[in-house]
Symmetry: C2
Subunit: 509 residues, 2 copies
Amino acid sequence: MASLQCSPVYKTFIRQLSTQHRVLRNITVIHSPVLHKSFSSSSRTMTAEKILNGRNMNSQVRKAEYAVRGELAIRSETLKTELAKGAKLPFKRIVASLVEYPELLKDENAEAAAKFYPSDAIARAKLLLENIGSVGAYSHSQGIPHIRESVAKFISERDGYPADPSKIFLTQGASAGVQLTLEMIVSHNKVGVMIPIPQYPLYTATLAVLDANPVPYYLDESKEWGLTSKELQRAYDESNKMGIETRALVIINPGNPTGQCLTEDNMREIIEFCSKNKVILLADEVYQTNIYRPQDRPFHSFKKVLKSMGPKYEGFEMISYHSISKGMIGECGRRGGYFECEGLDEEVMEQIYKISSISLCPNVQGQIMVDLMVSPPKKGDPSYPLYKKEYDGIYNSLIERASILEKTFNSLEGCTCNSADGAMYLFPQIRLPAKAIAAAKAAGKQPDHFYCMAMLESTGVCMVAGSGFGQVEGTAHFRSTFLPQPELFDEFCSGIKNFHADFMNKYRD
Amino acid sequence: MASLQCSPVYKTFIRQLSTQHRVLRNITVIHSPVLHKSFSSSSRTMTAEKILNGRNMNSQVRKAEYAVRGELAIRSETLKTELAKGAKLPFKRIVASLVEYPELLKDENAEAAAKFYPSDAIARAKLLLENIGSVGAYSHSQGIPHIRESVAKFISERDGYPADPSKIFLTQGASAGVQLTLEMIVSHNKVGVMIPIPQYPLYTATLAVLDANPVPYYLDESKEWGLTSKELQRAYDESNKMGIETRALVIINPGNPTGQCLTEDNMREIIEFCSKNKVILLADEVYQTNIYRPQDRPFHSFKKVLKSMGPKYEGFEMISYHSISKGMIGECGRRGGYFECEGLDEEVMEQIYKISSISLCPNVQGQIMVDLMVSPPKKGDPSYPLYKKEYDGIYNSLIERASILEKTFNSLEGCTCNSADGAMYLFPQIRLPAKAIAAAKAAGKQPDHFYCMAMLESTGVCMVAGSGFGQVEGTAHFRSTFLPQPELFDEFCSGIKNFHADFMNKYRD
């Protein structure tokens, strides 16, 4: 999560960064006069007279907080960045280009098209168009059947257990899937949904809008953000005593913002917990290909672990989410993803379909990208060598950067950081001087937020404060991605080091 | 809203239809074993034991109805259709293709690219990429600033009054914008939102999910689906007496499913009504370019009419919606649109931004299509002649088909139909024999729904029953598009005629 100032170094850095990987949540547009004007040009004096105002609008909406796009992100949006223009991982881009302009696929244009387009990309585009028709038309509300079949094949091959296309819903990113399924589950304002602390703020924001109760369980920072069923049971029992009807458990694996990857044993424990307490498992597995210690901590899907547990768990209720925005492809601007339902009630499935249909269909280009994600070029395909080279390049670079950045954080005064098994983040803890905490208080900000704002102002780097994700009371953290490009990484790390030293010196007790 | 059987004529018809225009809401995939299996393969016997089931899920979700994707649509999804493979209106397709594969824009590829891509499309793709960066990256949550500026320019030129990019939010289709803004407005379960009857079912479905109260006002079928402020006041006052706090008024102009286009006088009356009763105006203007009697009934935006009413209405609260799914472009599968806020409270605007940010950003390809819609090729551009030819071709054909279909409906026994000033629908009234009504009752269906199901089974044509849109108690209607291609239109119309005659004969009293 980096953004930048006007310094040309950072401009280059950001451009490179975004070329390398397009998961740029908080890297956005400078001098966004458009946005800024928006909220200052309307006349303050009119406010009290408005039919709809801050006091009488939907209070659940007001309550929702969304840290990764909050004040910090808005501030970073006042800084300019030049986004990527390069075309990396061409296979998916080429296919996306071809399906837009099917003229290029016609026999009479074959020779000319072959100059730009490899034969496997042309074949894939033809196959997709045969199954989709036109990318401009509404599709099936649940997602294009052909693409759901591709997803089912991917899941079957990943897990070694069959998957059913009829249980798969294509979505506009995993976020849309999470929002839709939580909407199903929350039937009254005493419903509870267990979420990890720290968590990805999509969950608290959506639960706030739905007027439901987040039931927090804590990941243990001292044990590499580990998770125990004992802690799950504590959270469940405490909320139960308070009259909360806990109906679902969110697990983010690999973790966001914490980067841990669960072991199979741990996952079995979680499934047992859910089964015992009659809790639906919501498995956010969007970082399943971002695995950095594949020997020690490989990714296991909850679906696979569940199926390996035998007939005792037949009918277990679970929804798992995946996305095109992460992994090595990172096509986040396209808004594509899917969720797979396991063991859900038939009527609930019908209702999920109905609600999906109110929004007509997920955007077709996003659906196509899901197909390309679950079914990339294979050995022997003309596009394979380049695909493989770029995939491995990004992957190895992420591993390297995760390690360098972790070392950087651990070298900072008062800072400790667990390593990342997966995902794209580190979540270091910082111990801030009392003077800094007092200064934050005086500015009406959380200490970690105050620290991150100072970093943004001083370096252009936008970290997201830990308070937006949740953390143990009295601690301070921030989330950092490790996306910046290797050749600029030293500069990125030294920028953080210098800022941190200056900050600590300024507020030293 | 046509779908088709297995007859080769209808196959051709549908293929043509979808080539001609991609607004194919209810034309989808045959033998959708995927979907069908979905809701029958889970074990009925498990239902009662499920943690989440039809009885304990969110009851607001259950209450939502969505006719245009309801039983009829699901049934039509069991019939096969081959969707379009042709590339009509190439300009937007070409630009969409180029932004996916920026390699083609490089100088060294200029000569080869020029074979496929006209120079204005290349220039536009370059401009867009300069402003967007990569189509794969998250954009500004409110929408790409450059594209919001294009939209503001379009609105200013359309209305003759300035528009502010900071008040414009890009969305994934108009539906997403409507859902988001209604969510802002509904703060408790006594909030009312005025909706026309007949209405587009997005409104009732969304209000049901939000647990708000639709406050119906009736369009007068005997006066070409006219609207009076007297009827608005009646609806408002009656709901007021019932303790409903009516906060917003939805106007669909041109009408869906009714096709009428409001006069300026009528619009002023509506604005006065809103102002007097402190009601926010929600103007659904997605059919603004589908205007078929431009001399008698031109389209006026509510924004323009409001601004023409002078300073008395300064601060008037209004949101207007537009979409790429309609008009002559009909790019519905891409999910793109925008809404413009007028006079909204500053804090409400901030909250709209926050909620938009929870879903990160609208899909970038949909945003690009909004840019192409509001800023099409201009006279003198290389792409202009083809663009103009295709635009006019579709437009003239729609006018012609609207007229033929209206005559067809008016020629049917017991059927009357108003003409369409705009949009893409006719909404004829049918007077069904008592025997047919009794047969419908016996089948547990609304009479109009029963009629439409019979038409679907017999002809493959999928009309949507009037009960899904709302109609005066005891009347029966259905909605028909006039999208089918001219050369197949005679066959389409005679299919309807034959079916109707058979149906009436079968159930004649």
